[in-house]
């Protein structure tokens, strides 16, 4: 015969036989502690369902996102081919003209806001919370709005990556000095994105026409050997 626990489990999954249902009903009416246990486990059943639903939803959103990422990669590749061509042409132009490296040109050719790896905006993220809004603005290129929210989020949570994304937004908005400040604070935190900080600092210094500091940071990028190493090396050559 089933014990009480097994009986309740079968009740929850609607798989009681007629006889079992009768026994269940009897216990329910006569045994107060059984009633309490059923109430708790009914709640647990609903909670487990909600957690399971949430997990599955996120997983399926991931499947769908992979289809869109594939398209994204194709576009990124085309962008990089175009950018490389532009770079080659401008190098050729510079060589012919014998003019010193144009830092603004180099900035434009090399800077790209770092992609949102913290909180990808998928179909599942229909929440109205600040974090989702902030990263949604960022992905849409609305850097003013994104910046304001990242600042707010950093103020309340002190999570380092908000500083990193602030800096990216600031660079897009042509405010390199503030970007540098944000990146320098971010560097101290040593979160996973700090591997990219020196590259973005170099970008910011380029924007400021500060070749010395740009080079210093590019050299750091090469030394750390983690991110954009080849790009840093080729940029250093151009800046010499």
């Amino acid at each position: 015969m089933l014990d009480k626990d097994q009986l309740i489990a079968k009740f929850l999954t609607r798989s009681l036989s007629e006889a079992e249902q009768l026994r269940f009903n009897t216990l329910l009416s006569k045994d107060a502690s059984f009633r309490a246990e059923v109430a708790l486990l009914q709640d647990l059943n609903k909670v487990a369902e909600a957690e399971d639903d949430a997990m599955a939803k996120e997983m399926v959103a991931g499947f769908e996102a992979e289809h869109h990422n594939k398209q994204g990669v194709g576009k990124t590749r085309i962008w990089w081919v175009a950018a490389s061509l532009a770079l080659l042409l401008s190098i050729g132009y510079l060589v012919i003209q014998e003019t010193p490296a144009n830092t603004q040109k180099l900035f434009v050719e090399n800077f790209e806001p770092y992609r949102n790896v913290i909180h990808p905006i998928t179909r599942a993220s229909q929440q109205d919370d600040l974090k989702t809004q902030a990263f949604a603005y960022y992905e849409q290129g609305k850097y003013d709005e994104a910046l304001a929210l990242f600042k707010k989020l950093y103020a309340t949570t002190e999570t380092p990556y908000y500083l990193f994304y602030q800096a990216n937004a600031l660079l897009q908005l042509n405010r390199p000095k503030e970007a540098i400040t944000a990146l320098q604070i971010h560097l101290k935190t040593k979160d996973t994105l700090t591997q990219k900080s020196h590259w973005y600092l170099a970008m910011a210094y380029l924007k400021l026409n500060d070749v010395t500091n740009a080079k210093k940071n590019l050299e750091q990028v090469v030394l750390e050997n983690k991110y954009n190493v080849e790009k840093a090396k080729s940029l250093l050559k151009k800046l010499d």
Partner: protein, 179 residues
């Protein structure tokens, strides 16, 4: 009904689920657009329909299904699409000769679940604190309806007694967390 596919749906195996998801995605996209919905709407609904299908499988409701999984999935999707289009104030013309309907797809109505009560929301915060092992055992027993033996088979617990002990311990921890 393809039993192997139903097992895939119950499995929690990300790769198997992804394969199933991708298997029907294009056909569903074609089907949905044929009913007049936009690509984004169809994709949103495809995810919802797939989740509803998986939930039915997990709750043991597909074990005796007669039709093919595809027909069932599309039936759910069709119901959701009609619902969505109705909300947009649009109707579908089923008499349009340009519509391509490859098989008669019967709608399968899906009733959305209710929100958690306040007590359940509170319980959820404790449940999440229990950690993955406890969550798994409790979910398998009290939601998925697996027997102790089935849980032994599905997890890396050695035997029935270990599972029973773990289940008791987890339930006790949960009760202790409650006010």
């Amino acid at each position: 009904m393809d039993l192997a596919q139903v097992e895939d749906l119950k499995s929690d195996d990300r790769l198997r689920l992804k394969a199933l998801y991708n298997n029907y995605r294009n056909a569903f996209l074609h089907f949905g657009k044929g009913l007049g919905a936009s690509e984004q709407t169809v994709l949103d609904i495809y995810q919802d329909a797939f989740l509803a299908l998986r939930k039915r499988a997990v709750q043991g409701k597909l074990d005796k299904l007669q039709s093919s999984l595809k027909t069932y999935l599309f039936g759910i999707g069709k119901f959701m699409l009609f619902d969505a289009l109705k909300k947009e104030g649009r109707t579908i013309s089923m008499e349009n000769p340009l519509q391509l309907v490859d098989e008669a797809v019967e709608e399968i109505p899906i009733v959305q679940g209710h929100e958690l009560t306040k007590e359940q929301q509170l319980l959820r915060t404790f449940f999440v604190k229990l950690g993955k092992k406890c969550q798994l055992v409790l979910t398998l027993y009290y939601y998925r309806g697996l027997t102790i033996e089935e849980i032994v088979a599905k997890t890396d617990y050695g035997n029935a007694n270990t599972v029973k002990a773990q289940k008791s311990r987890c339930l006790k921890s949960l009760k202790q967390m409650m006010p």
